[in-house]
Every structure is written in C-alpha cells, then in structure tokens.
Amino acid sequence: MTNNVPNMENQNSPPQKGLFFWYLQGVRGLISIPAFVLISAFSGFGTLARDAGLDVWQAMTITLTTWALPSTVLLAGSIASGSSFITTALTVAFASIRLMPMVMSIVPVLKSPKTRTSSLLAASWFLAITSWVHAMTHLPNIPRDGRLAFFFGFASSLTIMNTGVTGLAHMASPQMPQALSATLVLLTPIYFLITMINSTRSSKTTANRYAIILGLIITPILVLINAPADLLLCGFIGGTLAYFVGRSKT
C-alpha cells in the first residue's frame, strides 16, 4: 500500500503548513450540517439514556468510550430492557462490525509513509459515520502530512463536544418540554434511516438495501412473537438473506 504513495507530494507542496493549522481546520468542521444533526441526535441520546435508567456520568461515559450512535443506542436500549451481559455485548459487537471496513477504507487515505500504527489506532477511536463521511470528502484535498491532524481535529472534537451534549441533555431532560424531548429522541432513528438509505444508493450496495428492507420487516415480527435477542436474530436472518439475494441478482 505504501508503495503507491509518491514521495514527490511533499517536495512540491507550497510552504509547509503546521500540524496545528490542519488540526484547527479539522475543528472548524464542527460548524457544518452533518455535525449539527449529530449533535442534535446525541442530545436525543442523553434523553434516551436517562429513560433507560442511566445516570449522567454513565451516559457520558458511553458517548466518550463507545462513540458510534448505533452502538450507544443499542447499549442503552439493551440496558433498559434488562438484557444479559452476553446478549448486550453480542448485539453491540454486531452493530459495530461495520466500523471495521470503514476504518480499513480510510487508513490508506489517512496515513503518510511516516505515520505510526499507534497514531492510527488512536485516531480510529473517533471514527464513526459522520467523521468518516467528512474525512473521506475533505482529506483528498489536504496534503498527506496534514491529514491525520485534520482528522483528529474534527473527529476528536466532535466526540468531546457530544460527550458534553449527552450530559447537558441528560440533565436538562426533566425540565425540557415533553414534546421537545420526544422529538429529539425520534431524531436518532430518523437520522439513521435516512443516512443509511442514502449510503446504499450505488448499485454496489444493492444487498445492503435488501438488508434495510428485511430488517424493517423482520424486527416487528420478532418483537411481537417475543423472540429472545430480537435484534441479533434480525441481523443474522435479514443480513444473511439480503447477502444471498444481492449475490444472486448480480
């Protein structure tokens, strides 16, 4: 992989901008529509976590250490429904696997020949859908030496900011008008639904589109028949069916 990174890139670049410059450029990305939507969605998570019986520190710990909205919501949801540790862990693990291919696709864009694996491991902590989309859009226009700093600037400040947002929303939710709390909670699934459908527009992702449709259909059935570990089952059944249907169509 490192072979096709031309070294000339660095020689031809205009007067070198410092890492701090690129870090700040990354932070500036907080003022953007996707960041704003995510911040609103995390205030919904703060309310959701309170409903699940988590205290404010536990809710903030989840945002800071887990940091991927589907995983945090699943964790809070499993806690609320009294799932066992192993069911919760497997559910979160399966919902988070998609982070692996996302990381794998961003690493070649993010790293320069000098980048250490430990820096990449640290950066990957902050990777989730919003930071992935933002980084994949902007990184190609940034000199390779500044990319990791840019990513850290955006992704880590987004995580830290949303940790604060989670805490504030958790504390504010008893005083919040009920209609507003409910709207913020509803924002999370709406945000997932539309971003997920939007990410399956290309023909390469037909199978994923089937997976969405099957997931939407199977889950209510599993819930209504009181199936144990309904989400895990839905993932396995819907995902596997979608995979084979998608394969037979291509």
Binding site: G77, F85, I97, P189, G239
Partner: protein
C-alpha cells in the same frame, strides 16, 4: 463467570458493564480495521456479509426506536411516529442525495403534531 455473563446491567458494576459490553465491543472493530488494513481486502465476500448483517441490525434498531420505543416517545401515538418517518422518507426521495430536508421535515412534522396534542 457464566452467572456474570448471563446477568443484566443491574447486577453488574455499571462502568465495567459499559466498558466491556459497549466500549470494548465497539473499539475492537476499529482496532482490527487498522491492523487488517494491510491484509484483508475491503470487498471480500466475508466483509460483504458482515456489512449486510450490520445493516439489518441497524434497521432493526430503527424499527425498535420508532415502533416500540421505551420512555418519553411512547407517550405519543404510533401513527404520529410512522407518519413523521414516512414524510421524512418522501421528502428525502425528492431531495436526495441531500439528507437534511428529509430529517428536518420528519422531526418538524412530529414536533408540530406533538405540541398540537
């Protein structure tokens, strides 16, 4: 050991539960992504299957949050939540690939219906 993994949150140390079932289960995939980025092909069949399972799982989360919510959202009728989601999807279809208008119209609709109740 077996008792512990079958026990719910309420019987665990809350932070240990959060760190093991939440943070660790999420971070391992990010770390694996970094370590495997040199070895595993991004478009292998295995990764595709995993992608499908994860997508169906997140679709399941969406249904549970909209159709079977716990807490404050449950105080509002199902038709209101479904109507908002449908309006959002419809607006998204008209304005794609932008996502913001679909999201705003869905939650705007819900908020208006919710304060009207």
């Amino acid at each position: 050991m077996i008792e512990a993994i079958n026990a719910p949150f309420s019987e665990w140390n809350p932070y240990l539960f959060i760190l093991l079932a939440g943070a660790l289960m999420t971070q391992i995939w990010r770390f694996a992504g970094v370590l495997l980025s040199q070895h595993l092909q991004e478009d292998s069949e295995f990764i595709r299957w995993v992608h499908c399972v994860a997508t169906a799982l997140v679709a399941g989360v969406i249904v549970k949050l909209i159709v079977f919510p716990t807490g404050v959202l449950n105080d509002y009728p199902l038709w209101m939540r479904l109507m908002s989601a449908s309006v959002g999807l419809g607006v998204y279809m008209l304005t794609k690939p932008k996502i913001i208008w679909g999201i705003l119209s869905a939650i705007g609709m819900f908020y208006l219906a919710a304060i009207g109740l």
